[in-house]
Symmetry: C2
Subunit: 282 residues, 2 copies
């Protein structure tokens, strides 16, 4: 059951927000969907967006200005929350753990394992719901920011057939090796670091290479060089090195002067929407 | 003394926020300025933006997506707060009076008259400060949303020589005749309605006509027909009728399905930036 809670005209289409009961996370979830003007007459492909720490479905839809480009290219945008929410959902006082910080994993450690199943939600439940409820095709692309860039990269690497293309802004590319990621993965998955590899983009590129898998999805990463988290939490050079070693296609664009904010995302989201639109057409 | 409190790369330029001591309002004020890439090498004209009830300098700069268009056209954007602020500044518990609701007037009634002098701030102090501190020319345009649309229209009508062009989104065009305006003008100016005419766009158009003034600044108004305040607080038809009677140039664009939100502003701000850029070039 989908309940529409926001409905706003935007760039000739509609920016809506829905609430629904999620089986994956065993609770109510919200997501936003932008339907471009083209969706009035035909099914359109979908770009999924995953947001960063502390965000809800609101940040991207109010701050990134992506609707303009989605309307130009005829894509729907689907933006989910960053974790399960609610009084009965495990939480932590820190901004980088618990509600608002699901890290797009399926948690295996109690009490987190009851609701923190954002991986299943994003990969399976949400697309199925979106594709049965809205005028969209099953062509999908995925992008995200910071923790959501981590989510987009890991999800695309684990499911190359499900996405035409992946991109990320300021992503956490090696959560196993930075404080944000070590804290979250220890909490949600436990201390066996081998289990973390399935949720670490840099490790997944290495695993793909070790397995000799030949289905490679092109990756585009946008990174500001004045990003306050660049050297401590993001470290795109780790993924870049792994991609080079594995012959994995990665375009890393360093942008002079840009920080970690949505002003950075807004400045380049048009390029990313165009990139995904081209991949979705093929 | 200008103190820079935010500095963010954005569309090739810089989105900054400053704090300063204002003589006009006798207190600290904040404003945002977007300097487009062109400002690195030359002086650029300025589009002033006035926001609506409850807003600060943040709403427009985070939600409207105007920087992209300002960068395209080589305009600076200056966005001020909507009232004086602080513990020592008169306030009211209602969202539509006091802090966040200055209505761009010079208050004459105590205790409001001590700080609520947003008209002087916007018309005189802020442009003087901006023009002496940043690489901008003295060519100015002005726009705003809702209460800020009222501010932009009244300020431009009272100072046609100071602005090349004026536009407004969902403006309060006749504050003397709607609840928001009657409440604010009674509070800030007192019950003599004759004094309200100086802050009422519809009355100012009539006054201009009565005086036979021939300096007429073109007005562009964007209005959503699904705006929840259209019939109670905005009533653009009142200004339209006055403009027709006075032979005053007004383009009123009604937009099907759009509401009062920043999704509406974002959808059409590109047209307005282009409109002002053209006027500023002449």
């Amino acid at each position: 059951m989908l309940e529409r809670i926001e409905h706003r005209a935007c760039f000739g289409g509609w920016q809506d927000v829905y609430r629904h009961r999620s089986r994956a996370v065993d609770g109510d979830m919200r997501f936003a969907i932008y339907l471009p003007p083209q969706a009035e007459h035909q099914k359109v492909p979908v770009l999924y967006w995953l947001s960063g720490l502390t965000c809800t479905e609101q940040n991207f839809i109010t701050k990134a200005g992506a609707q303009r480009y989605a309307a130009e290219h005829g894509l729907a945008l689907v933006v989910c929350d960053t974790s399960p929410r609610g009084d009965n959902v495990a939480d932590d006082a820190a901004y980088d753990l618990g509600q608002g910080a699901g890290f797009y994993v399926n948690a295996t450690v109690s009490p987190w394992s009851q609701h923190y199943r954002m991986y299943d939600y994003v990969v399976h439940e949400l697309p199925a719901l979106v594709e049965q409820s809205f005028p969209v095709t099953n062509k999908r692309a995925i992008s995200g920011h910071s923790m959501g860039g981590h989510g987009a990269l890991t999800i695309a690497l684990k499911n190359p057939g499900r996405y035409s293309s992946v991109s990320a802004f300021s992503p956490i590319v090696a959560p196993s090796r930075v404080p944000w990621g070590e804290k979250a993965l220890t909490t949600y998955l436990g201390s066996d670091r081998e289990t973390w590899r399935a949720y670490d983009a840099t490790e997944l590129v290495k695993l793909t290479h070790e397995k000799g898998a030949n289905e490679k999805i092109p990756m585009l990463i946008e990174q500001g060089d004045a990003d306050e988290f660049l050297r401590t939490q993001l470290k795109p050079e780790l993924l870049q090195a792994a991609a080079e070693a594995a012959g994995y296609p990665l375009e890393l664009r360093m942008r002079t002067g840009y920080d970690h904010s949505y002003y950075f995302v807004a400045s380049f989201i048009g390029d990313h929407v165009a990139y995904h639109a081209a991949a979705l057409r093929t």
